[in-house]
């Protein structure tokens, strides 16, 4: 599994994001969240992520559309470079990023 899902508490899922979060993982990322109910909140853990591309940013937007509420997607343990990418694209306005 490229994206390991761990239930945290009621309705909260923690998803481990892979080392290279890019276009080649798009189908698997979608399958991962679509096999869970959109009523869940998603905590995406970027601890292992060393590369991210613009397609991955598009994938995050699709997850946000899936759950229908921005407050239900959090991006955590992002490296400084990952944070920088998210900031360039103003994702701090639509996601909680730490």
């Amino acid at each position: 599994m490229t994206f390991k899902v761990t239930p945290q508490a009621d309705g909260i899922l923690r998803v481990q994001i892979c080392e290279r979060f890019d276009f080649s993982t798009q189908a698997e990322f979608r399958t991962t969240y679509e096999s869970e109910s959109p009523a869940n909140s998603f905590i995406l853990d970027f601890e292992k992520t060393k590369h991210m591309d613009s397609s991955a940013l598009g994938m995050l937007l699709l997850l946000r559309e899936y759950v229908g509420d921005v407050r239900k997607v959090k991006l955590i343990r992002c490296s400084n470079e990952i944070k920088k990418i998210l900031e360039i694209c103003h994702f701090q306005d639509i996601f909680e990023i730490t």
Binding site: Q26, R30, H51, M52, S54, I85, C89, H90
Partner: protein, 179 residues
């Protein structure tokens, strides 16, 4: 002077500049692995962590653009919905597998700039594809837009980004260690 030449990769030295070139032609493109090629080039360039990350983003975004939009003629407008997004990558796989003719050359030159005494990288990517009207590149789009982010990242990280030859050639100047 050519120092090294192995399959698709060549390394040459001229004055104090080192140039690393990877090129692909016709059926070599059908199994092109963007992550692997970018990784190889980055290893040769031996950059520190931040430059490695940022130049890696530039290389991947521009190589993917050359393949997807240049050679395969895919349109990002497909990516507007989850189904369209998946459709885009399904089409990409099919078109790439059946690609008969095409060329891409990706070249990174590491040199000392005479002007500002900085060490720089010049990346040049040329493809034999359909090109595009770069005067219509949209830099001002909404947060939730479904395309344009790749070029936005590249622009943010580099000193200069120049398209030419009808959009088939792109050149980037990147300052090493600029933080």
């Amino acid at each position: 002077m050519t120092l090294f030449n192995r399959e698709r990769l060549s390394i040459s030295e001229y004055d104090d500049a080192m140039t690393y070139t990877i090129s692909w032609k016709d059926d070599e493109l059908t199994d092109i692995d963007v992550a692997d090629c970018v990784g190889q080039l980055l290893t040769l360039l031996n950059l520190d962590e931040s430059d490695h990350f940022r130049f890696g983003v530039i290389l991947s975004e521009l190589l993917i653009n050359s393949i997807d939009h240049g050679l395969l003629g895919l349109s990002s407008s497909l990516k507007e919905s989850a189904d369209g997004f998946a459709e885009y990558y399904k089409l990409r796989e099919e078109k790439l597998a059946s690609l008969k003719k095409g060329q891409i050359s990706m070249s990174a030159e590491r040199y000392d700039s005479d002007n500002d005494k900085e060490e720089k990288l010049k990346l040049t990517l040329v493809d034999s594809g359909c090109g595009f009207d770069y005067s219509k590149l949209n830099n001002d789009f909404g947060i939730a837009a479904h395309s344009g982010r790749g070029i936005k990242l590249v622009r943010q990280y580099c000193d200069a980004l120049t398209f030419s030859q009808g959009g088939r050639r792109v050149e980037v100047i990147y300052a090493i260690n600029s933080g």
